[in-house]
């Protein structure tokens, strides 16, 4: 039966298992929107196309399935750019469908024409310009294959209006994607299982560095087993949080710029780093010249291009993480490594027993208290979606994530405005999960129109605005490195509780620590969107901090006496 190009589009999407798309209609995508009504697709109308891409991203991160965003040509497509770049940096599988002007008009500067395949070329895994109806289905199917295979990432399919409208015959049997196999031996110098095992079993002070790849490859169990078998402690990256339960006895916590002091010191003292599904980003290594000089290094990543990119390693393995670790497991020895664990315990001091809830209330409301209360009151079971900045780091430090994919945050690109739309995507992907947005007052104001999207969709999500009246992380850098010259960081905002009222949702402002619990519990009881405006201490900073480019072990520590201890040893 002949289909129009846009029918082929929806048919292909449905065949890929798509039930929901996030989008915004417009001229060049109108035929597709009209055809959509004939297919079992839930369309979430966003308020800005950037939101659509973040929602698709949040959907993908919450489930591992491919998220889909739809927009029209020109400004609709260019508004997607930030979201696409965000997904690219964090290896999130999304497919963006954009309308394009008619193929005869391409290159003529027609109304709402833009070269979106050219614009997104460096920020997509691949993109397609489809000008014929018969090419729609194969392009869509290949797009899903590309987005979800290997190291996941965004793919864009730009479809001209005439390709949407023309009719064609689709033979579904032949539209299966056929991507090239990469030769396994394409790059010399790749390490073997034996190389890795030899280093692991010989190491006295090994440390596993677990990244986002643990979740992307579904290797959560294997990583824990590797650690348990060899008594090897684990440090996690920001995006690796949740891959290993926070309460796991071998999980030391987060590494990097705002990582735990003992974790960074342990990295510097280790004699073997086993880097699994992480990419030695500058935010986790600090100064590369002084990074982990005592350590041999094993690096496993599915993306060969990450191997030996930032850090030279002894054993480089380009392979799916789960497969690689499974190959190791039978041969991993079980030394107790007592001295190493004793050394780490020493580095930790008695900070393991710290409980900031036990600190006396000095009348100030600190973000760390809010996050810690939120963790306690949600039993650590919420899916928390954070934005970018101080609140993001506090969340990473004080919310103890026990389950995989329970922290969704923009890591690589550091995209402010990510949290609210990504949370909408996550909630739609996992309707039974309790979803909390933790967001600063700056980032929230970037994409707050998506509140209307959440309301229109009748979503039950909770929003905690960590409101300090500053672009806090930038202010912190100004405090530390620019002599407190607060250039353009004080930021005002609306009365967020009243704003909530205007959107027809429940909202409350909280200024005192004793009011946090009731606000959180009340928000949880709300059926729809609930918003809490936590007016926290304005000039608090995130500690510890490795200044950009500094040695990893040279951290700025919280000055004492301090209202919050960073470690009890301070």
């Amino acid at each position: 039966m002949p289909l129009t190009g846009c029918q082929a589009l929806w048919e292909a999407l449905v065949r890929e298992g798509v039930h929901v798309v996030f989008g915004y209609p417009g001229g060049a995508i109108l035929p597709a929107y009209d055809a959509m009504l004939g297919y079992p697709i839930r369309h979430v109308l966003v308020r800005h196309e950037q939101g659509a891409t973040h929602m698709a991203d949040g959907y993908a991160r919450a489930t591992g399935k491919v998220g889909v965003a739809v927009a029209t040509s020109g400004p609709g497509a260019t508004n997607m750019v930030t979201g696409i770049a965000t997904a690219m940096m964090d290896s999130s599988p999304i497919v963006c469908i954009t309308g394009q002007v008619g193929s005869k008009l391409i290159g003529s500067d027609a109304f709402q024409e833009t070269d979106i395949t050219g614009i997104t070329l460096p920020i997509t895994k691949h993109n397609y310009l489809v000008t014929r109806a018969e090419d729609v289905a194969p392009a869509v199917r290949e797009a899903f294959a590309v987005a979800s295979s290997g190291r996941p990432g965004p793919v864009l399919v730009d479809i001209t209006k005439d390709a949407q409208q023309a009719t064609c015959e689709v033979d579904w049997a032949t539209t299966e994607a056929h991507l090239t196999e990469t030769r396994d031996d394409a790059l010399p110098g790749d390490g073997t299982v034996a190389d890795a095992i030899a280093l692991i079993n010989a190491a006295e002070r090994p440390l596993i560095l677990a990244g986002h790849g643990v979740m992307l490859s579904g290797a959560e169990r294997e990583i824990a087993e590797l650690a348990e078998r060899g008594n090897i402690p684990i440090a996690v990256t920001l995006l690796g949080i949740g891959g290993v339960p926070a309460s796991h006895r071998l999980n030391l916590g987060m590494m990097g710029m705002h990582g735990e002091a003992w974790v960074n010191t342990a990295i510097q003292e280790a004699d073997l780093l086993i880097a699994l599904g992480m990419r030695f980003d500058d935010r986790v290594t600090g100064n590369l010249r002084t990074y982990a000089l005592n350590a041999r290094k094993i690096h496993v990543d599915i993306d060969r291009a990450e191997l030996n990119k930032n850090v030279r390693v002894d054993v480089a393995i380009a392979k799916d993480l789960r497969t690689a670790v499974r190959e190791w497991l039978p041969q991993v020895g079980a030394p107790d490594r007592k001295a190493w664990h004793a050394r780490i315990a020493e580095l930790k001091g008695d900070s393991a027993v710290r409980d900031i809830q036990n600190l006396p209330d000095n009348g100030h409301l600190y973000a760390a208290h809010v996050i810690n209360d939120l963790w306690r009151l949600t039993d650590g079971n919420a899916v928390v979606v954070t934005d970018v900045g101080q609140h993001q780091m506090w969340e990473a430090q004080y919310y103890k994530h026990e389950t995989s994919r329970s922290l969704i945050t923009s890591g690589g690109l550091g995209t402010m405005g990510f949290a609210l739309p990504a949370a909408i995507g996550a909630k739609i992907a996992r309707p039974d999960a309790e979803v909390w947005v933790v967001v600063g007052d700056g980032g929230f104001q970037m994409t707050m129109p998506e509140l209307a999207t959440a309301v229109q969709e009748g979503l039950d999500i909770n929003i905690a605005i960590i409101n300090n009246g500053y672009l806090g992380m930038v202010r912190q850098w100004q405090e530390f490195f620019y002599e407190r010259r607060y250039a353009a960081t004080p930021i005002s905002g609306p009365d967020f509780a009243k704003l909530a009222e205007a959107f027809g949702i429940w909202g409350r402002a909280v200024e005192r620590r004793q009011d946090v619990e009731d606000a959180v519990l009340t928000a949880r009881r709300q059926k729809g969107v609930a918003l809490i405006d936590f007016r926290v201490e304005q000039e608090d900073s995130v500690y510890p901090m490795v200044p950009a480019g500094a040695d990893l072990h040279k951290m700025i520590r919280r000055p004492s006496p301090s209202p919050i201890v960073e470690t009890a040893a301070d």
Binding site: T117, G118, L121, P122, K125, H126, L129, E142, A145, V146, S149, G150, R151, A177, H178, L179, T180, E181, T182, R183, D184, D185, A186, L187, P188, G189, D301, I302, D303, R304, A305, L307, N308, K309, R312, A318, K319, D320, T323
Partner: protein
């Protein structure tokens, strides 16, 4: 050092842009890039020369493989190859100079392909060194215009830079089913 890559790509619109953009995006400098058809229909071959170190070359190869239209990458730097560059050189040659230029053309086994009253156009094929050297000796006569194709390279002997598609597919399927990068 200079690395030479033979890159097999789908012959589709925009592929050259994708490859060139990758070099730009990853801050590699292209010394030379040529592209043309191959013996296989639908497949083009690029010869890319790039100045980078061993690690850079490997990362470049890995990054090239991440481009969907790239079928095959071979770093042929260390292999015995035949490399050729073609140049067209327009040089001033009036009066006495003309005979001298013609002699040089003979010495270099180049060819005169166009003659006008006060200039000659010379065609030469060879390694970059040979062409550079010819340019040096012609320079005193006055170079009016010059164009070069950039290097094309081929591995010596009966081996191809990359095995045939069939061989590759079977080998890849057999070697690893959980392969990284694009593997569908």
């Amino acid at each position: 050092m200079l690395h030479t890559f033979a890159v097999y790509v789908d012959n589709k619109p925009g592929v050259l842009n994708r490859v060139a953009s990758l070099f730009r995006r990853r801050a590699f400098n292209i010394e030379s890039l040529t592209v043309g058809h191959t013996e296989q229909p639908g497949i083009s071959r690029m010869t890319v020369v790039c100045d980078t170190d061993e690690y850079g070359a490997r990362r470049l190869e890995a990054n090239l493989y991440k481009l969907v239209p790239v079928k095959r990458v071979e770093n042929i730097t260390a292999r015995p190859t035949i490399s050729r560059d073609l140049a067209l050189i327009k040089v001033s040659a009036a009066g006495d100079a003309r005979a001298q230029v013609m002699q040089l053309v003979d010495v270099y086994r180049a060819r005169v392909v166009d003659v006008s009253p006060d200039s000659l156009v010379i065609e030469t094929t060879g390694t970059e060194d040979k062409i550079d050297s010819l340019l040096e000796v012609l320079r005193p006569y006055g170079l009016i215009e010059m164009v070069r194709t950039g290097r094309v390279s081929m591995v010596r002997g009966s081996a191809a830079a990359g095995p045939s598609r069939q061989v590759e597919t079977t080998a890849a399927a057999a070697s690893n089913e959980n392969l990284g990068n694009y593997s569908v």
